[in-house]
């Protein structure tokens, strides 16, 4: 959980992971629907595990239905902020 947490950094991270999983770069639009990308459930598990590893954020699979890439980035940003605050309060 040491990765840069600026929204642009999280967007770049997710985009890079998706490209690694075989998604075409020009499909990576903030308005693109996540469940319409050319990826399968294994790819989704891969991406979500990377997000957990680097940002400590867990996004339940059911919350990915109908979400756009932009909304996914916003979700990671806000949950990351909540997780960091929780850690600070606990520590």
């Amino acid at each position: 959980m040491t990765s840069e947490a600026a929204p642009s950094a999280i967007r770049d991270f997710i985009n890079k992971e998706l490209v690694d999983l075989g998604v075409e770069e020009d499909a990576l639009d903030a308005d693109a629907r996540f469940d319409e990308l050319d990826i399968d459930s294994l790819d989704v598990a891969d991406l979500m595990t990377s997000i957990k590893r680097d940002y400590g954020v867990v996004i339940p699979r059911r919350d990915l239905v109908g979400i756009t890439l932009g909304q996914l980035v916003d979700r990671v940003v806000s949950e990351r902020a909540a997780a960091v605050q929780e850690a600070a309060e606990a520590g």
Partner: protein, 272 residues
Amino acid sequence: MSGLFTGRKYLITGVLNEESIAWHVAAALQAQGADVVLTSFGRALRVTRKAAALLPSPADVLELDMTDDTHFQAVAEEAAEWDRLDGVLHSVAHAPADALGSGFLTTPAASALDGFRVSAYSLQQLAQALAPVLARAENGGAIAGMTVDTGRALPGYDWMGVYKTALESVAQYLALYLGPSGIRVNLVAAGPVETVSASGVSSFGRLADHYERWAPLGWDRNDPSRVVGAVLFLLSDLARYTTGQVLYADGGMHAVTGGVGVPGPADPSGRR
């Protein structure tokens, strides 16, 4: 009852990500002082490696494709080098898309047979590969596997239900043939847990709703820890003289008729 797992070593198959039941079993074993080694294969391997790094202690991941005889041979050779192996968790299954989801009556032979190898036969291969090292375990080797409620047809599980019934029979025969080597073989029948595998079953949500509404002890599809205790029991010395058994960790759903009365008001958390 402390120290059940201190210094023990377990091979855990079936970890894909942090949602996997096997991941939670591995994490619990590590928390109790055991060493765990995971297996995975193919495209899943890189996800498993990331998930392994998220365990309390990072775990090694061996490559094991359940349809490749040479992989079993390699795992057997690797395990033969270990100073001990106390138990194994078989937590893998596979069914082609046309063997699931209420197409039961039209599933072609090739698809129906395809899932059998990974979902049922592989327990025999895994047991056979590791029996020599498990037989050296001082309190007997433990093999545990995962099944579902096979006492009835689960809508949408279809051929997976058939494979799980076969798996239970495989476990009984392994109990027969490996008992003399001090190796016990048992299964846990889990209630519905929200995992990547579950996402392949289109009726999963409705089945989980049924368990959460009607299981006497309640159920929560998002709480894999409800299944972990039963697996740990079977892997532990407490189950030293238990073999060929199916232990239900399903909130009691298998024992009752749902949809009529009592286990009442639906609670979204599944807790009562």
